[in-house]
């Protein structure tokens, strides 16, 4: 049982890690979802085998169960639930960030986006450069242009 669960956790984590390394931003988000889901599986699995350390001696469970029957730890399920909600909100935030990038660049491919940004930065630099030289040489340039137009 332990082997089966750890295999499942490993496979889910591995496929998530593979997807996170893709260029497509949606795949990155799906990969992150898979990775966090592997963490939830791990948390639940941590409560399946009942350790002696954490079990309160002589505690009465809310739901009456026969003495000595197997029970899983309820605390890990509460933990998984909390983590699930947090992960849901973060994934929603990531999707909204992707949408924001899509609106700006009309693509969700990371390489295309950084290319577009490079182009923008170059365009900005080209705009700035003449401004720097404008002060000493602006007059001359204008004269030259005037000469040419004549």
């Amino acid at each position: 049982m332990i082997l089966a669960i750890s295999l499942v956790v490993a496979v889910v984590f591995g496929s998530g890690a593979f997807l996170v390394l893709q260029r497509d931003l949606f795949r990155v988000v799906v990969g992150l979802t898979l990775i966090s889901n592997s963490a939830f599986l791990f948390i639940i699995a941590a409560g399946l085998t009942r350790g002696t350390a954490g079990f309160a001696q002589g505690a009465v469970p809310v739901l009456p169960i026969p003495e000595g029957s197997a029970a899983s730890d309820p605390l890990v399920q509460a933990m998984a639930l909390t983590a699930l909600v947090i992960s849901l909100s973060t994934i929603a935030l990531l999707l909204s960030l992707i949408y924001r990038l899509y609106v700006a660049h009309e693509t969700v491919d990371l390489e295309d986006i950084s290319e577009a940004e490079m182009r923008l930065a170059e365009a900005l630099e080209r705009e700035e450069e003449p401004e720097e030289e404008e002060k000493p040489e602006a007059g001359q340039e204008e004269e030259e242009i005037e000469k040419r137009s004549r």
Partner: protein, 471 residues
Amino acid sequence: MTGSTLLVLPVGLPWALAVALALLNGRRPWVGWLAVAGLGASLVSVVMLTFRVLREGPVETVTGGWPAGVGIVLRADVLGATFAAVSVGVILVSLVYEVFVGVRSRTFPALVLFLAAGLSGLFLTGDVFNFYVFFEVSMTAAYILTGYREQDYQVRGAFIFAVVNLLGSVIFLIAIAALYHVTGTLEMATVAERVREVNPNSLITIATAIFVAFSLKLGLFPFHFWLPVVYVGSHAPVAAILSGALANIGNYGLLRFGGDILSEELALGATAVLVLGSASIIYGALQAISRREPSEVLAYSTIGQVGYVLVALGIGGTVGFSAALIYAVVNSLNKALLFLVAGLRGPFVAAAFAVGAFSLMGVPPAVGFIGKIAVFKAGLAAGGVIQATLLVALIFLGSALSFVYALQIYQRAFLAKEPQGGLWDKTSPWTARALVVALAALVLAMGLWPEPLLVLGEEAATNLIESGGSP
């Protein structure tokens, strides 16, 4: 005021106010000032809590009036209260700065308050899982704040920041689940007691996972790749919050989990921690020297400065832990000052930057000197003669390199003739400049009167070692 009220106020006040402010338009000045007032009250309560903790020892309360062992424990000791006070202080200064400059987004004040509530919550909790929840509250607010001003590169930076740190959070969550599985409790104090009876093999794995998770937050050397992209793009006060307040999660987490809960595992892995810290110092400083943009230099310098905290942590003992705490506090003040100044132009700004740069290098009147001296002392206390010599030489080299890059920024940003018609032509509002000068004065004052900081470091380290057991 009773201890438990003081414990709940720093978390509850900004949280309640944040929920209310989220519905209002944050671009209006009065909304911003309301947030400042709430955060100011929260800072006052944290400082009062720190004084009480120093005088009377740790304050503890169980939420919701549950019996101990059932409810979630809130607990403040010197370490947590100090980090909470510094982080809330840095966030408050950054928020005031942004209100002076002009808030451009509806949600900015509310998000900053959420971040402050999450941070003080995680510094003042005594429960491992609660730590994770508060950590996520502040991180989620930070992801959104990174995209503040909504330039394309900022949104891209926010995406990268969120993806990388979410991975770190998942690793931390797995480590918590494993820690719960082997000890059967989530309460930090009980976990620290029970781990001594656990099979060391499984604990090493857990300790490594926790170390990786916090190093990722801190931007330590092999985990640093995301940090420059995020810091360079983000708006000045956001960068100040990220490096002055949010990075404290990593510092606090390493001190709490390494020094207190898993102290034996830290002692076992001390060599690895020392090597990673040293690599981080050298790598960060060399990269910082090779960059031109001030914010990029500061981002790489952050990677280097984290290394000092790691080295102090690796040395361990009272001297090492107190040096780690003092250096972390000093570093968050320095970085907050420098990042805020980097976004301003006008008279007195260069002077404030010079104070920050001197503090970064560790030149005497500034508080950075106190931090460097503490790490030097820790280095001298380390193991054998060879190790001590190596460490002191390393710290000296790191400081010398920081001299080079700090003065390089000063030269490029403030001494060189600026291109006309650029962004930097406008003089920033005098209020924001006055704020930065006041922060610089604080950095100087703390350097001239270092007694409180040293006492805090000493007390926190003693507490850690007492509760952690082994040296």
